[in-house]
């Protein structure tokens, strides 16, 4: 007589073998799926960068951080640096001071032009660091005329 308490052991003993017919069916399906996936892989184009970014959480975070840092840096640089170009109402008088004030009567042939430029570059330029407004320029010109008149 088999005790009923052995039910657990008996149930665990239950074991059937899959038939070769089932094996063939499943293996055929797997082979078909493998062939399809290989075909799909060969036809696949280059992976899209946005797809990679949106798929991975870490990449998403990294891209967001990079954008945030770039934005922050741009903002801080733009806030603290001086404008590189002159404002519309001001005129850079560098050329004027070097070419007109220092050598106003220099000959205009090509050879003397480069020599004049070189010499001008070597001269001290007190107004280079300054940006002149129209008013300042007029004042400077008046000063120049005054000096020239007294000379």
């Amino acid at each position: 007589m088999r005790p009923a308490d052995d039910i657990h052991k008996l149930i665990k003993k239950l074991q059937l073998k899959a038939s070769p017919k089932l094996d063939k069916r499943v293996h055929d399906d797997i082979s078909k799926a493998l062939a399809e996936s290989k075909k799909a892989e060969s036809a696949r184009v280059e992976p899209n960068i946005w797809r990679i970014i949106t798929k991975s959480g870490v990449t998403k975070l990294a891209v967001a951080a990079a954008i945030f840092i770039a934005f922050g840096m741009g903002f801080s640089i733009g806030r603290w640096s001086k404008p590189t170009r002159l404002a519309s109402h001001s005129i850079d008088v560098t050329d004027y001071t070097s070419a007109v004030l220092v050598y106003p009567t220099a000959p205009k042939d090509e050879d003397s032009f480069w020599r004049r430029k070189t010499l001008a570059a070597m001269q001290p330029r007190p107004y280079v660091q300054n940006q002149f407004t129209k008013t300042n320029l007029i004042n400077a010109y008046k000063k120049y005329l005054k000096e020239k008149h007294y000379d």
């Binding site: 039910i7 239950l14 074991q15 059937l16 499943v26 493998l34």
Partner: protein
Amino acid sequence: MLEDKLLIWKFNRGKRDVLRSIYEKYKDDLVTLATVLLTDISAAEDVVHDVFVSFIQSTGRFQLTGSLKSYLMTCVANNARNRNKAKQRHHNIDLDEADPVAADSRNPEFRAIFGEELSQLSWALGQIPYEQREVLILHIYSGMKFKAIAKSQEVSINTVLGRYRYALDKLRSLLNSEVKK
């Protein structure tokens, strides 16, 4: 266990060649489970085949996190349950009035499936209602927890525990009465 982890890792990366290893590892357990549930070996093989076809198609579409064996066992149990329901609808038999599976289990072929030693058990398993048999087999044979079974059957855990207790009692009485004969 480590092998399972490796299989899951490969599966989650969409490597389809891992499917062969998974099938070879679990095919016998799955066929046994389906056969006990449906008491019909050809229907059981169809169920296992269907489950694997779905599994192949789902490669790369979802991420497996738990036990691979439990996942496959649940798939087989769900498929077998659907097949059983469809069979009952087909025969226009009310669930409360008759159990078509029990009729199949009287088939001497089914008794002989598991060999002479387990013929009484296979006969007795065929006599208990489908829901109770499912709980019993999933818990004892597949090693699934009652909570997981309740979730897969969409019933409360108390219902599952009740079915388990009824199934054990009935199986005991059936086996004892069979032995007395």
